[in-house]
Amino acid sequence: MSRTLWFVVPVHGRIELAAICLRQLARTCDELAEHEIEASAVIVADRTNLRDLRRQAGNLIGIPATGRPGRFAAIERRNDFLSMRFNDGIQLACDPRFNSRPADFVVPCGSDDWIDYRILLELPQNRTVFGFKRMSFVREDGKQITRSFVNYRGGCGIRIYPRALVKALGYRPADEDRRRGCDTSILFNVTRAVPELQVEHRDLHDRQIVDWKTAGANVNSYRGVSIHTREVQDDPFAELAGVFPERSIAEMRAHYRR
């Protein structure tokens, strides 16, 4: 395979939801492999969360404390600063001092996100970051889904960075001490470090990225992201059929029914 890509996924709490999203991420990686993109992920969490995730998601999750590998890489880091955990993951993905096969591209994302692999088939070149403006949010009760347009320079928080761009910041592009706004911090710092950086948007459809909300657990609640909403529908699972695998949809439907 000619190109490699790693997702960077910090996890804290919401273990059952995170496990479903990581299983879906594994399916996304499988689809990318069919298209000559070798994809993996690194999970960044404290010891307790990694252990709990391993119980839920099994062999997907490595355990650093015992050296037991999983399908995805894992980093044990305290939960103090979200941005530090993004930096850890990006560094493990891309820094040849730690990874003998550093990823060509890195995609920071949330542990409550689904990504349609099709938006990752085109990858950025030179001084370019790909971002995405169209996405969907699912309400905390699982009974409503938006069609949203995040009209920021970088789009929503999920972006594709070539390794060379994060190398410019020692492979740790986010401010280390941020608890929120980490995606913005990464883009801001990369923009400062890389002259003539371009941000291009690669949108395919409204369901290309899905963010699953949980009551009381999100920095930005469903109501909080309503400024981006263009339309809402009442059955998220029916809306996502045909975009994401039936198995993932069934798992998530069961999660929201509990």
Binding site: I75, P96, A168, E176, D177
Partner: protein, 91 residues
């Protein structure tokens, strides 16, 4: 590319929060040089030490089989260190 500031370990010395850090708390950051100088001068923070900070301070494990396949793919050390994409960006 523009050089990035060095890491520092800081303590908040004023009675007001600094970048969301509470008074008296310590934090690690890579502050812009001028920003750091101003904050230290007005006694908002104290620089405790310059540090190397990174993944060295965390435990990690790679994906199963990821590094084994480096040999299979036949990537040279040089390829691993500097992809053609990086060369183009650095040019």
């Amino acid at each position: 590319m523009i050089a990035t500031p060095a890491y520092g370990r800081y303590r908040v010395t004023s009675d007001r929060a600094f970048r969301d850090h509470d008074p008296g708390s310590e934090f690690v950051a890579r502050l812009d040089t001028a920003h750091e100088r101003r904050a230290v001068r007005r006694r908002a923070i104290e620089l405790l030490e310059r540090i190397d900070f990174g993944l060295e301070s965390a435990l990690y494990v790679m994906p199963k089989g990821w590094e084994d396949s480096a040999e299979t793919l036949g990537r040279s050390d040089e390829d691993r260190r500097l992809s053609s994409l990086e060369r183009r960006v650095e040019a």
